[in-house]
């Protein structure tokens, strides 16, 4: 059984541009930070074929704000877990490589990523969409952070972009107002404290 340190070093040896800070150990699990699709697929190949992490458990989609991430949960025969991450270039350029050629059970996980996050996973066989309804409108990805159920009309299947933008603007305004109020309160408290200290010094 290899410990995580040797595993880490063997990966770094092969992929010199992954520095030490790309890795995090957590008990029985090794986390690797997100890499772009082209590099990811060689890394995945190496990890599966040479380090023999050949149990594929599941994928997790993640909306990280500026881009999307996919976490792949792999394990080996010794029950060590390895979490690899693939990231897309941006929110608009959502290309990601498929791991279907390695693990066929990734098919439904990746179809879900396509439907629910709008990640453009390339390399899957043709087939039905999954799991959203057949009538679901395009460009509506329910698990994205900026998609809110309140603005989706279930009868007409349309998304009210204007109302959503308005609500977002109001939310940002409210947040800014709260932040300003908090900062003002902190500044006032600081000034009061300084004043008190000054008075105490004067008394002495």
């Amino acid at each position: 059984m290899l410990d995580f340190h040797t595993l880490k070093n063997s990966i770094i040896e092969r992929f010199p541009n992954l520095s030490d800070e790309y890795f995090r150990e957590d008990g029985t699990r090794l986390w690797v930070k997100a890499v772009l699709p082209q590099e990811f697929i060689t890394l995945f190949d190496f990890v599966v074929k040479e380090l023999r992490f050949d149990n594929f458990h599941m994928t997790v989609g993640l909306d990280s704000g500026d881009y999307f991430e996919i976490i792949y949960l792999l394990s080996n025969a010794e029950n060590q877990m390895l979490n690899l991450r693939q990231r897309t270039v941006s929110r608009d350029d959502t290309f990601a490589a498929s791991v279907y050629p390695y693990f066929e059970n990734a098919l439904f996980h990746e179809r879900e990523l396509i439907d629910l996050f709008g990640i453009d996973v390339q390399g899957l066989p043709a087939g039905h969409r999954y799991p959203l309804p057949d009538k679901w409108p395009d460009d509506n990805y329910p698990l994205r952070k900026d998609w809110k159920t309140e603005f989706f009309d279930k009868k007409t299947l349309t998304y009210d972009h204007e109302a959503a933008a308005e609500a977002e603007r109001l939310r940002l305004e409210e947040e800014a107002r709260k932040k300003a109020a908090r900062e003002a309160a902190i500044a006032a408290a600081k000034a009061k404290k300084a004043q008190q200290e000054k008075e105490a010094q004067a008394n002495e």
Binding site: L132, P133, D134, K135, W136, P142, T149, F152, K154
Partner: protein, 191 residues
């Protein structure tokens, strides 16, 4: 009433056949339906049989909230059933949408798509409540009408809680009595 209708009613009351459809349940209610049908609770003693085809069934037992994908299928199954037909909504989700009500692809309760004759709330609905609902539905058929006038709502949680409390209290009483008796016996023997 013409004799044929009478015969149908008699047959339905004595042996209603059901079909179970999961419209988008979390599977909790489905387990309870299966539980109610199998020997432990034994709905079959009322002549209730589970059938594989909607064309053979009189009662459609639905669990779960209706999603956009299942709405058309549910309607389809309902249309395939022969008249007269009844729908029983099992579980809070089937009655109103429940915890999934506001989900992006959920239309609401079963009654958003097809008319419902009996509501059995509970998350998950108890097998006792399901049996109660089906039996009450059958007993309304004794009336002249083939469909119950108002939907039946089983408010079983409170009734059942009271019943269970009573049963527990009774059990405790017998236990303590037995205990005292046994103790008295032992004391006698020892003496």
């Amino acid at each position: 009433m013409n004799p044929l209708k009478k015969l149908i009613k008699w047959a339905q009351r004595k042996s209603p056949w059901i079909i179970h459809f999961n419209a988008g349940a979390c599977n909790g209610c489905d387990i309870e339906v299966v539980d109610a049908l199998t020997p432990r609770f034994d709905l079959e003693r009322f002549g209730v049989l589970q059938k594989g085809s909607p064309r053979h069934a009189d009662v459609l037992v639905c669990t779960g909230a209706v999603t956009m994908q299942t709405a058309d299928r549910l309607k389809n199954i309902y249309d395939q059933m022969a008249e007269p037909k009844f729908v029983v909504a099992v579980g809070t989700c089937a009655c109103s949408g429940g915890v999934f009500g506001d989900c992006y692809c959920v239309k609401g309760g079963i009654d958003a798509v097809i008319p419902v004759s009996a509501y059995i709330p509970g998350c998950a609905a108890r097998p006792e409540a399901i049996i109660d609902g089906v039996v009450k539905l059958l007993s309304t058929l004794e009336d002249k009408k083939l469909q119950p006038k108002n939907p039946i709502v089983i408010n079983s949680e409170k009734e059942l809680a009271d019943m269970l409390d009573e049963a527990e209290a009774a059990e405790e009483n017998t236990e303590t009595e037995n205990f005292e008796e046994n103790k008295a016996k032992e004391d006698n023997e020892n003496a």
